[in-house]
């Protein structure tokens, strides 16, 4: 966990932000000079005004300093916001790209709710950090230095008081800030938990309703929210305490400077304009430090999100990406050589050796959870062998460009994801430029025609985030249609007809036969209808693969 107010990784990861940050530093220096100029002019103006006279040059100087400060503050805000927008866009892209780069198994281990929170609201928390905290951080260095330098010239004893009290702000801020930081981290986790929990509750609402538990869960949500409140209040009691101490140091310092200066004025030991200058400048010395301190708490959330985003998107990839060689032809011979796949909890495949010859149609059967899907995932490149290797045409899949290799295969998963977008776009997932005629063909092949006809806008119907608009069976046909459009030499089907009734199974089966004709096919099947066409049948049980001999009994039945 990074505890510094500025994460240097940011400059390396988002080089585009460097120039903006440099400009911000220059503007900070300029502001400091203008603060001193403005106070000097005002002190002169007021010291003259005590005799009822108007000091015109001082008035003009004051006006000019104010105008310049206005301009600089505009530039500061704009530049800081530019930097924020640049960094957020870059980090969002990085995060989402990491999801794409690491592949499905990496993502499956992460919580989608957490990622969505981070890519959305999480990173937006960087706004207060950039526009609020960072400029103040710069000013908290430049302004106290400029103010101190000016006051040393005017009245060294006041300068001494300021120089002694200013360090109290960062010291107290740090002491109390550490407490607040730990508490903020706890709160952030709770927020993620609340986000994930609520998402879970909303997604499962129909199920909750079916068990008559929906209303009861309202109390659970209330309890979670109340827990969030209590955690937040604990954080705030400490965070505000630090603000209190910092505020006290600053205001008491004004009193500490003003009262002795006033008494010295009585004795004539100091001029009025100097006294006023000291009074006007003293609060300015503390202001940026305090503002930075209070905004640091407000931007903690952003810093935590930043740290999370930088860490997540920088996670090293499991497989070395540098060795990506050209992909073998999908029509080549596929060999599993002593392949073992071990997950965290279980071993999915144990020492599997098998050969799939070009054009073979292979059915894979076995109890659920036996490792059938892992077999397909190996070919898809979603999973890499813990031991052994998978080769196509003699080329080890571990070393090929996976995107190029996947162009050689079409995949029908057990539960296809439906993307927010039209049905047509969902089908065209792998081939966005498909002409309408080919699309219509795929729709017909996948027996989607009647589904399309029943939808309000046909193929243009927008599907919900998780495809709530379609039933499992219809979703499956969309997946099949995708595979038809893919037109790849190797077809991987994970129980393509599992969710279809016998009548539409016959239709889909016919289509599947057309799909696998002349291609190599690996079908995970529970349904016997798919087995009759298979050239070979593999049984996966407890991670081991055995080949079943072709039994004529299947062919004998009508």
């Amino acid at each position: 966990m990074n505890r510094r107010p500025f994460d240097p990784r940011l400059l390396r990861r988002v080089p585009a932000a460097r120039r903006d940050l440099a400009v911000l530093a220059v503007l900070g220096g300029l502001t400091a000079l203008l603060v001193v100029a403005q106070a000097t002019a005002l002190a002169t103006l007021l010291a003259t005004a005590i005799d009822g006279r108007l000091h015109r040059p001082a008035l003009a100087g004051f006006g000019a300093a104010v105008a310049a400060r206005a301009l600089v503050s505009w530039a500061q805000g704009t530049v800081a916001a530019r930097a924020a927008a640049t960094v957020k866009a870059a980090l969002r892209a990085d995060l989402l790209r990491a999801v794409g780069r690491h592949g499905p198994t990496w993502v499956a281990g992460r919580r989608a709710g957490q990622l969505a929170t981070l890519a959305g609201r999480g990173l937006d928390a960087l706004d207060p950090y950039f526009t609020g905290y960072l400029p103040q951080l710069v000013l908290s260095v430049t302004v106290p230095l400029a103010v101190l330098a000016r006051i040393v010239l005017a009245d060294w004893s006041s300068a001494l008081i300021i120089a002694l009290t200013i360090p109290l702000i960062p010291v107290f801020g740090a002491l109390l800030g550490w407490q607040a930081q730990a508490a903020t981290e706890r709160q952030w986790r709770r927020l993620s938990l609340l986000g994930g929990h609520f998402l879970d509750m909303v997604a499962g609402l129909p199920t909750l309703r079916a068990f008559g538990r929906a209303r009861a869960q309202v109390d659970v949500v209330r309890r979670m929210a109340d827990g969030h409140r209590q955690a937040t209040m604990k954080t705030l009691r400490i965070a505000f305490l630090s603000a209190l101490v910092l505020e006290l140091v600053a205001t008491l310092s004004v009193a500490l400077v003003a009262v002795p200066v006033g008494i010295r004025l009585l004795g004539g030991g100091i001029t009025l304009s100097t006294a006023l200058l000291v009074l006007l400048l003293t609060p300015e010395a503390y202001l940026p430090l305090r503002a930075a301190g209070s905004r640091f708490h407000a931007s903690m959330e952003g810093l935590t999100a930043l740290d999370e985003a930088l860490t997540l998107s920088a996670t090293p990839e499991a497989a070395a990406p540098g060795t990506a060689g050209p992909a073998p032809d999908g029509r080549g011979e596929i060999r599993f050589e002593g392949v073992t796949v071990a997950y965290e909890r279980t071993t999915a495949l144990r020492d599997v050796t098998l050969t799939i010859r070009p054009g073979e149609r292979i059915a894979v059967i076995g109890p659920s959870g036996a490792g059938k899907t892992t077999l397909l995932n190996l070919l898809l490149g979603f999973v890499t062998p813990t031991a052994g290797r998978v080769t196509v045409d003699g080329v080890d899949l571990a070393g090929v460009d996976l995107d190029a290799w996947r162009r050689e295969l079409a995949w029908v998963p057990q539960r296809a994801h439906l993307f927010a977008g039209s049905l047509a776009d969902n089908i065209r997932l792998g081939a966005p430029d498909t002409p309408d005629a080919a699309l219509a063909g795929a729709v017909t092949d996948a027996a989607l025609d009647e589904v399309v006809a029943a939808l309000p806008d046909g193929l243009r119907t927008t599907l919900g985030e998780r495809g709530h608009g379609l039933s499992s069976g219809q979703r499956q046909r969309v997946a099949l249609a995708r595979a038809f459009l893919r037109d790849a030499p190797l077809v991987l089907l994970d129980e393509p007809t599992a969710r279809l009734d016998s009548a539409s199974e016959a239709v889909v089966l016919a289509a599947t036969r057309r799909l696998v004709a002349g291609r190599t096919a690996l079908l995970v099947a529970h349904r016997p209808a798919l087995l009759t066409d298979a050239d070979r049948i593999l049984r996966v049980e407890d991670g081991r693969v055995t080949e079943l001999s072709r039994v004529p009994a299947g062919k004998g039945t009508p």
């Binding site: 103006l45 199920t207 079916a210 003003a258 985030e465 009759t532």
Partner: protein, 580 residues
């Protein structure tokens, strides 16, 4: 000043009005203490320059010290009081929002990414409305009035100049800031929602995208959106900070004008200084309203959505005059027709079905025949357009939301597995079940061995949407949950979906065996094996009952059932012959 959504949200603040009012007064006191500190200190110095006796300054010296201390204390208590009140209110809002979603029947149609952004981000908007808009706004207004009033005691023209400056800083600039950001702010919320959906698509759909080589396209789309959001944010900033710069300008110019006007009006030199320093501080305070106005503008969309979810949180549930008696229940469908859309073919057309206590009925038929609609109508999630579904003579739609699940329930289509432990998922069915009951239900669903094999046993986490489980395990878990719930009328919609035939037969048999004799079963299935023991089998096609009878009768009669039975039989015997 407040518009509809704000009023709806603020109505929830009523129980905490006292706390909020206190917070507002404390905020005003804080700001006023700061202003008074600088003004008093200036008076002290400028008076001292006239070399009066020390005792004439004593009050000012004490005041300076007291104000210095009180400001911090005021601030601390104000912030704690305000946050406490608001967070209490937020808890109410969160619960109310969820309650509305519960009451809303179409909740499933919502995009979950949006729903997430709704609860987490929009609800924070309520917090910001109070803490960053209303409380500081009220405090700034109060301090401005006090400042103008005090100045008027010294010099009326100076008070006029100050009032003008404060009006610009506290009214004109905030209005300008709000106007400048309003249109752009309207664009930010949908873009962020779309980005959240993108993130969900890229994570949940990662496998599909990778397999079809579409990851790049989806990424580009998401990045384009992120880029658009970034451009929008830059535009917001460039105009927004121009208003801030104007604020700096207004503060300085007002102070200068006050000095000039006060001198012309012949105000004493000491008081000119006090007025100048006080003016700077007062304008500074009222400039907080710019930030508040900007914040308020950006909160609009979120508040409107929250208000939308709050206003319809009425209690729609009608209550039956007489609840159904305990024990067995008789369910009857008479002439039930369901149409999902006006003019579309009916999903169910005039279906009659009798399910007296203890009877076991299977509903079979091709996909899209209306099987799941039948289950949905019985469980109350779909209402018949014509016809009635009654439980012991009481219309299902007359039963309270919580009443029906006690009688009718089970495994419905798209059963959801929660990101919780196996035990928690099961207990949803019957919260007070003991270990033996858990084991019995889990054994019937064929999941007990797996549970026992897990190091954490019943406390094994199933992962988001049951992601740590295989498809078959997820289905078995959902089935076990339905069996544990054990409603008198058990609906099982494709209970063995995703299981291989051998496992499916075993699970179906153990499921039926585990259901107590007095309980009725409505089994929806596309597989025909294992139905021989049922009291009646109803064949649906295009929403109509085309065949009904016991298995032996239907197999003997020509028709859809017989055809499918022979097909499956042949295929499955072939399958069994393949086993080594």
């Amino acid at each position: 000043m407040t518009d509809g959504p704000e009023r709806a949200v603020l109505r929830l603040a009523r129980p905490y009005l006292g706390r909020l009012l206190g917070a507002g007064l404390l905020a005003a006191a804080t700001e006023f203490a700061g202003l008074a500190l600088m003004a008093t200190a200036t008076w002290l110095l400028m008076s001292a320059a006239g070399r009066p006796p020390l005792d004439r300054l004593t009050v000012a010296i004490v005041a300076v010290r007291a104000l210095a201390v009180s400001r911090g204390v005021f601030r601390y208590t104000e912030r704690l009081a305000g946050h406490d009140a608001v967070l209490r209110m937020i808890t109410d809002v969160r619960a109310r929002v969820f309650a509305t979603l519960v009451a809303r029947r179409d909740a499933t149609a919502q995009r979950t990414g949006d729903a997430l952004s709704r609860l987490v981000s929009d609800v924070e908007a309520v917090q910001d409305l109070l803490l960053r808009v209303l409380v500081p706004g009220a405090a700034a207004a109060l301090v401005s009035v006090l400042a103008v009033g005090s100045t008027a005691l010294i010099s009326l023209p100076a008070a006029g100049v100050l009032a003008a400056g404060l009006l610009v800083a506290g009214v004109a600039l905030p209005v300008l800031a709000a106007g400048l950001t309003r249109r752009a702010a309207d664009e930010v919320a949908p873009l962020r929602g779309a980005l959240a959906v993108d993130a969900v698509d890229l994570t949940h759909g990662a496998a599909d995208l990778a397999a079809f080589g579409a990851t790049g396209t989806a990424l580009t789309a998401a990045e384009t959106r992120a880029g658009r959001l970034a451009r929008l944010e830059r535009r917001l900033a460039a105009t927004g900070f121009a208003v801030d710069a104007a604020g700096v300008l207004v503060g300085g110019l007002t102070a200068a004008a006050v000095v000039v006007v006060a001198l012309r009006a012949g105000v004493g030199g000491v008081l000119v200084g006090v007025l100048a320093v006080g003016t700077l501080a007062a304008v500074e305070v009222s400039l907080a309203l710019v930030g508040a106005a900007r914040q308020r503008t950006q909160l609009r969309a979120g508040l409107a959505r929250v208000a939308d979810l709050l206003t319809e949180a009425g209690e729609p549930a009608p209550t039956a005059p007489v609840g159904p008696a305990s024990g067995g229940h008789d369910v009857r469908f008479s002439g039930v027709t369901v149409r999902y859309r006006e003019g579309a073919a009916p999903a169910l057309a005039g279906v009659d079905l009798d399910l007296p206590a203890g009877r076991r009925v299977a509903v079979v038929g091709p996909s899209g025949a209306g099987k799941s609609t039948l289950a949905a109508a019985l469980t109350g999630s779909v209402r018949p357009d014509t016809g009635r579904i009654t439980v012991d003579g009481v219309d299902v739609s007359d039963l309270a939301d919580e009443e029906l699940p006690r009688v009718v329930g089970g495994l419905l289509a798209e059963a959801y597995v929660f990101h919780a432990t196996v035990r928690e998922n099961l207990l949803l069915g019957r919260p007070r079940a003991d270990e033996a009951e858990l084991a019995a239900a889990t054994r019937a669903a064929g999941l007990l061995d797996w549970v026992r094999a897990q190091p954490d046993g019943w406390d094994t986490l199933v992962g988001e949407q049951g992601g740590q489980l295989s498809g078959g395990q997820r289905q078995r878990l959902a089935l076990a949950r339905a069996l544990l719930a054990g409603p008198p009328v058990l609906v099982l919609d494709e209970p063995t979906e995703g299981l291989d035939p051998a496992a499916a037969d075993a699970v179906l048999a153990s499921t039926l065996a585990a259901t107590p004799a007095g309980h009725s079963v409505l089994l929806i299935s596309h597989r025909l094996s294992g139905l021989a023991g049922l009291d009646e089998i109803v064949v649906l096609d295009a929403g109509r009952v085309v065949q009904r009878g016991r298995h032996e009768e239907l197999v003997a009669r020509p028709g859809w059932y017989r055809e499918q039975w022979l097909l499956q039989e042949a295929a499955e015997r072939g399958y069994l012959a393949l086993a080594p």
